[in-house]
Point group: C2
Chain length 307, copies 2
């Protein structure tokens, strides 16, 4: 029998790939034969993680070639494999809202409002008393650092902190020093085209019939990154055309100061929903969102409520 | 602050009410103040359970009067409180497919493909090392007997069996003897009008745009129950008219022999989907479904695939 596939969302970030690896290992220990795969190539940060711990990046797929699959770090169908409606989802482990997700059969679904999917998987390992190998612990530690911006994001919970501390002990790594290096590696934007940057951490949402795209790039200097604004806007307009998107938000987030400037494009009516939602003015296509670092907690639900 | 409400589905069966009581108790022990409620009056079986163990049936509501709620034993919005779209769902514990369910925020969602929600809640008590009081154990035991037809339904798993055995020890009750009495009490159909029987365990599903209603009554004698066929059909036609349902299936299930005869009404096109799905002929509005006892495992997914 073919191994059941385990994967995170499209445009994978560190947690999407690592959670698939960790959950697949967990399932294999429980006697269910699985293979972790990724729905895209690694971003700069994820490359740094896999190089640093000398771990092979999983096989990249766009369509599942098995009948059954397990999802981690996502559930919305537009963020999943292209043929998600043709396969059976048997397991989900996630920390996002639930939407555009439907099954014909009962399934295993474990979601918690924690900062990182890898934290939930760490809890599952503990519950079932399965040991986490040091190398996988290093990856899970990296995923938590990535999703919580070294425990500074408002999505961070006490459980994420406990998981990070426990995993760094297992891995034998000082997470403070390593974490800062890892996050900085992820902000190495100069080598990328505007198109690549925009697509690097892209998510699309259906909000009351409107197609809303919210991408995010991290930086350590907002103004330096915004020197490329016109390049970004060209890439965004092109994407909106091809994908028929109604509203496009590119969050440019300073991970050191926890602030965001967003490039926001769309027609007047969707722009006014954005302005209303964040009580701000878009000037020269840019909105300043002080204190905003989390798309999931500080952008998606607020916008969704107003559409 | 108002207590957060915990409830199971409309037309509650034993598990819907008991899971709400057990999960509410669990949450209260964890320091989150909740109140269990029911979305309807008890059926004959559930009445027997609450009388037998001298436990007060919870308050009955149709709309939630709190901002936040927890769902047990269901997730589909049409099976929930009338104002489900206006409240925030913070927790779900369930053992059904996921459909017509959407949130704006991340939440706690724990589903497993087990026979009974109360089995999942039993696992949660164990994980968190919270003791189950004998009276609540009696109720949870009853819920498992009800959902698994005393471990005979194909939905039954090893974990349901383990939970039932453990809970019956905590409750100090011989589940075999008690269980048969309880199931028989639930088949006391004579005192009910056809309308009451049809509505007793009713569930509505959206299947590719068709409104499909699947109700179930348990009996110990199929032919005896079917003496009232014309009465049932009149009640069904009336319901279909009022609720605009495309297909109505009344499963009449013999819990001793594990067989079902279904009264099936709808237009030719939906009836042919039914016949195709179950490879059977509907004669005089009746289809014989040998070995079928579980709506969830043997009826809903199969029909859903063919619509």
């Amino acid at each position: 029998m073919k191994k059941e596939l385990v994967f995170g969302h499209k445009n994978p970030d560190t947690d999407a790939v690592v959670a698939a690896i960790a959950y697949s290992y967990f399932m294999n220990q429980k006697g269910i034969d699985t293979e972790p795969v990724a729905l895209g190539n690694p971003n700069e940060e994820t490359k740094y993680v896999f190089n640093h711990f000398n771990y092979d990046f999983p096989r990249v797929i766009t369509s599942a070639d098995t009948d059954k699959v397990m999802l981690v770090d996502h559930n919305e169908s537009q963020q999943s494999v292209d043929n998600i409606s043709d396969v059976e989802v048997t397991h989900v482990v996630d920390h996002h809202r639930i939407a555009n997700f439907e099954t014909s059969n009962p399934l295993f679904y474990h979601a918690e409002p924690l900062g990182c999917t890898s934290t939930i998987i760490w809890k599952l390992f503990n519950q079932e008393k399965i040991e986490i190998p040091a190398q996988i612990a290093s990856l899970m530690m990296s995923a938590i650092i990535s999703d919580t911006l070294l425990l500074k994001s408002p999505t961070t919970t006490d459980q994420d902190k406990a998981a990070l501390e426990s995993l760094s002990r297992t891995a034998g790594v000082d997470y403070e020093t390593y974490g800062l290096d890892m996050l900085k590696a992820g902000t190495n934007l100069d080598s990328k085209s505007a198109k690549e940057l925009v697509e690097m951490d892209a998510k699309t949402f259906d909000m009351n019939g409107k197609k809303v795209r919210i991408d995010q790039v991290n930086t350590v200097d907002l103004d330096d990154t915004l020197k490329r604004q016109s390049e970004f806007e060209e890439a965004i307009k092109n994407e909106m055309n091809v994908e028929n998107e109604d509203l496009f938000i590119l969050l440019i987030t300073n991970i050191l100061t926890s602030d965001t400037k967003a490039i926001v494009l769309g027609n007047d009516s969707v722009l006014s929903v954005f302005e209303l939602t964040f009580n701000t003015k878009i000037e020269n296509n840019i909105a300043y969102l002080p204190g905003v670092v989390s798309r999931k907690k500080q952008v998606v639900p607020q916008l969704n409520e107003n559409f």
